[in-house]
């Protein structure tokens, strides 16, 4: 049977790879990603399942699924020119497991799109750049629409995560699986609420702290109750990326985080759970 060995919540700020090169691994961002990387390596996963919100590169406005799973031998990313010359990777995947997860979740009542021959942007790739050693661990992308209204309800995303967890727990192969949910809690990108002179802003750091307080307390039910579409959008035009963390929380139920590091001046945090 597959075993869930670890779960992580991570940001995907596009300039972090170049910033960590410039400022060095001892920079705050370098250290926080290093913490996640060390934990993930120690957990020895055979495959990573990552919940992500595409930023209009894998999908577009003419065809934008609420939920989707990438099914292929490999995929390329990032394809959206993140700053600083971040490498474009060929990421191995596990199409057999991805197809199994797709079939299981659709049969359980979730309308999940499947995609093949796909590409990914920085939102999926920045966390992997930092935590997936040499990009060798296969990755299955699971997309949740977290920007474009209407957003799926937080409870639906949590239940979807739980359905994937149930499917993994009866998967008839001995695989060690790590989960990543990526996104910000409060962030406005190129919208009217950006800070003077900048391309982004953190409109509601208090909400970010509230999210982290719920995580620290293990109160995911309380967080889900508060994380309405209006509340997440009030925290910024990409505040719905919290849904990727909420799907990830379906795997951490009953476990204290190994670490939870707040970087609220950037509107996000770094969380890690060892589950084995």
């Amino acid at each position: 049977m597959a075993k869930i060995v670890a779960a992580y919540g991570l940001p995907h700020t596009p300039f972090y790879p170049s910033q960590v090169i410039e400022e060095g691994p001892s920079s705050p961002t370098g250290q926080m990603f290093a913490r996640a990387r060390e934990s993930l390596i120690a957990a020895k996963p055979d495959v990573i399942v990552e919940f992500d919100t595409d930023h209009y590169n894998t999908f577009f406005f003419d065809n934008f699924p609420i939920l989707a799973i990438g099914i292929d031998e490999k995929f390329k990313g990032p394809i959206d020119e993140p700053r600083g010359g971040m490498p474009v990777y060929d990421v191995p995947s596990d199409p057999k497991l991805a197809e199994y997860l797709h079939m299981h979740t659709v049969r359980a009542g979730y309308d999940v799109a499947s995609l093949r021959e796909f590409v990914a942007d920085h939102s999926l790739m920045v966390p992997l750049h930092f935590v997936n050693p040499d990009m060798k661990i296969p990755v299955i992308p699971v997309f949740i629409s977290g920007h474009l209204p209407p957003l799926p309800p937080a409870q639906r995303c949590y239940d979807f995560g739980r359905e994937i967890r149930k499917a993994l727990e009866v998967y008839p192969e001995d695989l060690r699986v790590a989960i990543i949910g990526t996104g910000s809690f409060s962030l406005e990108v190129f919208g009217p609420r950006i800070d003077p002179g900048k391309t982004d802003a953190v409109p509601d750091p208090e909400w970010g702290h509230e999210v982290c307080d719920h995580i620290d307390a293990g109160d995911i039910k309380g967080l889900i109750a508060k994380a309405t579409e209006d509340r997440m959008h009030a925290a910024g035009n990409v505040g719905g990326e919290l849904l990727n963390w909420i799907a990830m929380f379906a795997f951490t139920e009953g476990h204290k985080p190994e670490f939870l590091l707040r970087q609220m001046e950037q509107g996000h945090g770094y969380g890690g759970w060892r589950l084995d």
């Binding site: 930023h55 209009y56 590169n57 577009f60 406005f61 003419d62 394809i79 959206d80 020119e81 920007h147 990108v189 190129f190 919208g191 009217p192 609420r193 950006i194 003077p196 002179g197 900048k198 391309t199 035009n237 990409v238």
Partner: protein, 87 residues
């Protein structure tokens, strides 16, 4: 819906370096194939991102116009204009 054409055009600025250069050098000619309405065309060529925002163009996509200097935009100019939208 030509609002979606503007979103698509913004994505082409990111993906197609020839189009990106054309949007800097001669945007009026570059946007001809996109079938925009006169108001959309006027707002886009003026770099009026506040007007485009009100028309329903996606902010994230318009960011590529600022990032790559299309239609006379720069990050400071984009910033000033998008922040003029009431919020």
């Amino acid at each position: 819906m030509s609002v979606n054409a503007i979103n698509r055009l913004c994505r082409e600025v990111l993906r197609d370096h020839v189009f990106r250069a054309a949007m800097k050098d001669n945007p009026a000619k570059a946007i001809e194939p996109y079938g925009l309405t006169p108001d959309e065309r006027k707002a886009l060529l003026a770099g009026d991102v506040a007007a485009l925002h009100h028309m329903g163009v996606n902010d994230f996509m318009m960011g590529y116009l600022a990032r790559f200097g299309s239609c006379g935009l720069s990050v400071p100019l984009y910033n000033e204009r998008i922040r003029s939208v009431p919020h």
